[in-house]
C-alpha cells in the first residue's frame, strides 16, 4: 500500500489562458449588431453539438405588485404558439431533432437557453427568433400555462426550503423588488390576463440589452453570421428600459419569521445578512470568505460544526448571492424540527467567530486554490462555457476576466476578508427565516 503522506500541493496552480483552455479575447469573438444585440461565440470542436444562451432586459422588476409573476408568465408562454407555428409545431420541430429550448424570467432579465446538434443550429435560432419576436399567446395555451404556474406555486407552498428562502427575502428587503418572488403568488398569477402578456412583451422585449452566446462545434464567425441573419432586423421602437433598483431600507433590529407547513418531517432554516453587489470591489473577498465559512470541502466551517461534529443536518452551508443589487449572505440548513434552536445557536456562534477573528492563512490559501483549480471543471462543457461568457457580459467584467482571474484571486488579503466580513455581517440587522411543521 502507498500511504505515506498525501500530496497536498502547497502552491496555488498558475495558468495562462491560451494554454489551459480558459476563454479570453484569443478565442472568444464578440460583436454588437447595429440594433444593439451583442453576440459572443466560442468554438469547441470536440463537441458535435451547440449551446445557445442569452438574456433580454425584461424582468420581474417591471411586474406590477398586483400582477406579480407577469414577466415569468410571459416567458413561460413564449413557446405556446407564434405567428408562424402552433405550440405542437414548435415542440415537434425541437424534439424531433433532440433539441431543447426554454425561457425563464428573473428580477432583471429574461433568460433563454437551448441546445442542439450542430446540424440543427439554424432550426434552434429560427425558433428562438420566432418565440422572442412573434409570440401569439393563444388564449387556450395561456390558460394551460396558468394551470402549470399555479400547480408549481402549490408545490412551492409545501416546499420548506423554498418557503424559508421566500420568508428571508421578505424580512430583508422591505418594499424592495428583491422581496418579491419572480413566480408571484396564486392570487397575482390568477389576475394576469392575455392582454397583460401582450403588453409586457411589447413594452420590454427588444434587441436593446439582448445578449446571445453560442458555444460548440462551429466556427465563431459562422455562429455570429447566423445570429446576424436571424436577429439583425429585429426592432422595437417602443421597447422600455426597466426601472432601476430603489435604495434598500436596512432592518432596524434582528428579525425572525416562521412559516408553518404541517405534516413535514424536516424544517429549513435560512438566516443571515444583506451582502455585496457582484460589481462591488469587495465581492471577491466576500466570495472567498463565504467559501471558508460554509462551502470549502464539506460545507466549510459550518459543515464541520453542524454536520460533521454534531450530526445535526444532512446539509448546512453558507451562500452568497451577489447580483446586480445587494444579494443575501446566508446560512442554510435542513434540520429535524427539534434541533432548530441548536442549529441557529451554533451558526450564530460560528458567525461571531468569523467576524471577531481573521481567518487562518491556510484557510485563505485553501480557498484561493479551490477557486482557481475549479475553473477548468466549470468550463468543461459547452453549457459551462456559455454561462461563463454570459456572466462576463451581464456584469460587464470584460473578456480578459478569466485570464486575470489568477492574479485577482491571489491578491486578496486576510485583512480584506476580515473587513468585508465585519462590514456585511451586521448582527443588529440579521434575519432568520424558518419553514417547517
Amino acid at each position: 500500500m502507498h500511504q505515506n503522506s498525501l500530496n497536498v500541493s502547497k502552491t496555488i496552480p498558475h495558468f495562462a489562458g491560451s494554454q489551459t483552455g480558459l476563454p479570453g479575447p484569443h478565442d472568444v469573438v464578440r460583436k454588437t449588431l447595429p440594433n444593439g444585440v451583442v453576440v459572443l461565440a466560442r468554438a469547441n470542436f470536440n463537441s458535435p453539438s451547440v449551446v445557445i444562451s442569452g438574456y433580454l432586459s425584461a424582468g420581474a422588476i417591471s411586474d406590477p405588485d398586483d400582477k406579480l409573476g407577469l414577466a415569468d408568465f410571459t416567458a413561460s408562454a413564449l413557446m405556446r404558439g407564434t405567428e408562424r407555428r402552433e405550440f405542437q409545431a414548435i415542440y415537434d420541430a425541437l424534439e424531433s431533432s433532440g433539441a431543447s429550448l426554454g425561457f425563464s424570467a428573473g428580477v432583471h432579465s429574461t433568460r433563454f437557453g437551448g441546445k442542439a446538434l450542430v446540424e440543427d443550429l439554424d432550426l434552434l435560432l429560427d425558433i428562438l427568433k420566432d418565440c422572442l419576436e412573434h409570440p401569439r399567446f393563444p388564449p387556450d395555451q395561456v390558460e394551460r400555462v396558468r394551470a402549470l404556474l399555479l400547480a408549481n406555486l402549490a408545490i412551492r407552498a409545501q416546499d420548506t426550503a423554498a418557503m424559508a428562502s421566500l420568508a428571508f427575502d421578505q424580512i430583508m428587503y422591505p418594499d424592495h423588488p428583491y422581496s418579491r418572488p419572480e413566480d408571484g403568488f396564486m392570487e397575482t398569477v390568477e389576475r394576469i390576463d392575455r392582454e397583460d402578456l401582450i403588453r409586457f412583451h411589447q413594452d420590454f422585449y427588444g434587441p436593446r440589452g439582448m445578449v446571445i452566446v453560442i458555444v460548440g462545434g462551429i466556427e465563431p464567425e459562422k455562429a455570429i453570421e447566423k445570429v446576424e441573419r436571424y436577429f439583425e432586423d429585429w426592432i422595437n421602437p417602443s421597447q422600455n428600459t426597466p426601472d432601476g433598483l430603489p435604495e434598500l431600507k436596512v432592518l432596524a433590529e434582528p428579525t425572525q419569521k416562521t412559516i408553518k407547513i404541517p405534516g413535514k418531517s424536516q424544517a429549513d432554516i435560512v438566516m443571515g445578512f444583506i451582502g455585496p453587489k457582484r460589481k462591488d470591489p469587495g465581492y471577491i473577498a466576500a466570495a472567498l470568505a463565504n467559501n471558508i465559512l460554509g462551502q470549502f470541502g464539506m460545507y466549510g466551517r459550518i459543515g464541520k460544526v453542524i454536520r460533521e461534529r454534531e450530526g445535526l443536518a444532512y446539509y448546512a452551508y453558507s451562500n452568497l448571492q451577489a447580483g446586480i443589487g445587494p444579494g443575501a449572505w446566508t446560512i442554510e440548513a435542513g434540520v429535524d424540527p427539534k434541533n432548530i434552536d441548536k442549529v441557529i445557536e451554533l451558526s450564530i456562534n460560528e458567525l461571531h467567530k468569523f467576524t471577531e477573528e481573521p481567518v487562518q492563512e491556510t484557510e485563505l490559501e485553501d480557498s484561493k486554490s479551490n477557486f482557481i483549480g475549479r475553473l477548468p471543471l466549470s468550463l468543461e462543457s459547452n453549457s459551462g462555457v456559455a454561462s461563463a461568457l454570459l456572466n462576463l457580459e451581464w456584469y460587464d467584467l470584460g473578456l480578459n476576466y478569466y485570464l486575470n482571474y489568477y492574479e485577482m484571486i491571489r491578491s486578496v488579503t486576510i485583512e480584506e476578508l476580515h473587513e468585508i466580513t465585519k462590514q456585511y455581517m451586521r448582527f443588529d440587522q440579521m434575519g432568520i427565516a424558518l419553514a417547517g411543521p
Partner: protein, 428 residues
Amino acid sequence: MNDAITQFQLNNGLSVLLKEMHTSPLISHWIWYRVGSRDEKPGVTGISHWTEHMLFKGTPSFPAGELDRAISRLGGLWNAMTYLDWTAYFEVLPADQSDLALQLEADRMRNAIINEKEVETERTVIISERQGNENDPLFLLQEEIQAAAFRVHPYHHVIIGDMADLYSIQCQDLLYHYQTYYTPNNAVLAIAGDFDTNEMAAKVMKYFEEIPPGAAPPRLVRPEPEQPGERRVMVEGPEETTYLQIAYHTPSANDPNFYPLSVLDSLLTGPSSLNLFSGGISNKTSRLYRALVERELAVGVSGGLSATIDPYLYTITVTVPPGKKAEQSLPVIDEEIARLQESPPQMEELTRAVKQARALFAYGSESISNQAFWLGFSEMFAHYEWFESYLNRLAEVTPQDIQRVAQTYLRPQNRVVGEYRSTVNQKG
C-alpha cells in the same frame, strides 16, 4: 490519442476500464462496488448508503479533513452514490493529479474508519437526510410503490432504508458490510480523461494490486414471483397537488426486451437520458403529454425505466393540478397503452426516438465524467459494450417489438397504481 477503451483485470480480481480522451485537462476516476440496497435484509435496510457515508470519514493514513482539503484545493470534486445494485465513488481532478484519486480509493477500500463515535454522529445525519426525503410527496409515494411491487425481492425497500433500521443499525453491522463487499474482486475501476493509457495502467497496478482479494460476497437471491393481479396504494398528505404513479414490472437491463421498452418509454413520455451530468429535453410531443396535458387533466408527465440487474419497474408519473383527480388520468393512460398494444407505431416515430437518443448521447459525451460513469455503470449489470452498442440496439427496434413489449409488460395485472392524494382537497 486513444479513443478506444482498454480493459484488464488485476490478479486480485479488480476489473479496470480506461478511456483516454484529451478534450479537457481533467480526469474522472470512479470506483464501483457491486453492492446496493438489493443486498440488504430487513433490519439493515439502508446500510449500503450508510456505508457510503462512512467512507468519507477518512482512514488512519488520511484523516477525513485532509482528503477533503486536498481535493478541494485542486478545485476537484468528489462524491458518491448508492443505488439499488451498486455503490460508486468518484473524483474529478486536474489531469496531473490522478494519483490522489487512485491513492485515496485504494486506501479506503480497506482502511476506512468505522467506529462507534463516527457511526453515532452519522446516524443523525442520515436520519436528517431521510427526513428531507420525506418532505417530498413523490418519495413517500415511491416508497409505498416499491414495497407493494416487491413482496419478496429486496428491491422492496428504498435505498436510504427504513427509519426503524436507521435507528437500530450498529457499528458492527456497518463493519461487516464494509469488509464483506469492499474487496477488489467485487469492484470495477473506471477512469476517463486526459492521460496516457499505459501510464495510467501502471499507476492502477501500483496502487491497487497489493490489496488482497476477499471471499466472494454473499448474494441475496429472492426472485420476485409474477404479480397475480393489479395492486393499488394510496398515500395521503397535506400537498395540494395530486400525483399518480403507475409502475409496471419490467425486465433486467440485460434482457433483449429492455431496448424496445426504452423506445416505448420515449414514445409514451419522451426521451430519457442515460447521462448523469447533463439534462434531458422536453417531452411535449410525447403521446402521454398530448393525451393528458393537452386535455388539461395533468400539468406534467414523465417516465422512468431503470437499468438494473434484476427485473425492476417502468414508472409513469403524472402531476395532477388542484381541482383535477388522478382517476381521470388513469383511463386516458390505459387508452394510450391499448393503442400501442392493438397496432404497432409508425416507423417514423421510432426513427425520431433514435435521433433523440443520439442527440442526448452527444450532449452527455462532452463530459469526461459522463464517459467514466457510462463505463462503470454498464459493467454493473452487463458489460461496457452494452453502452457502446446502446444506440445501435435502439435503432434495431421494430414497430412490432414495441407492440409486443406493450402487450407483454404494460398489463394491469403487472402493475402497481399509486396515488398521492391531498388531505387538503378532500376537506375542501
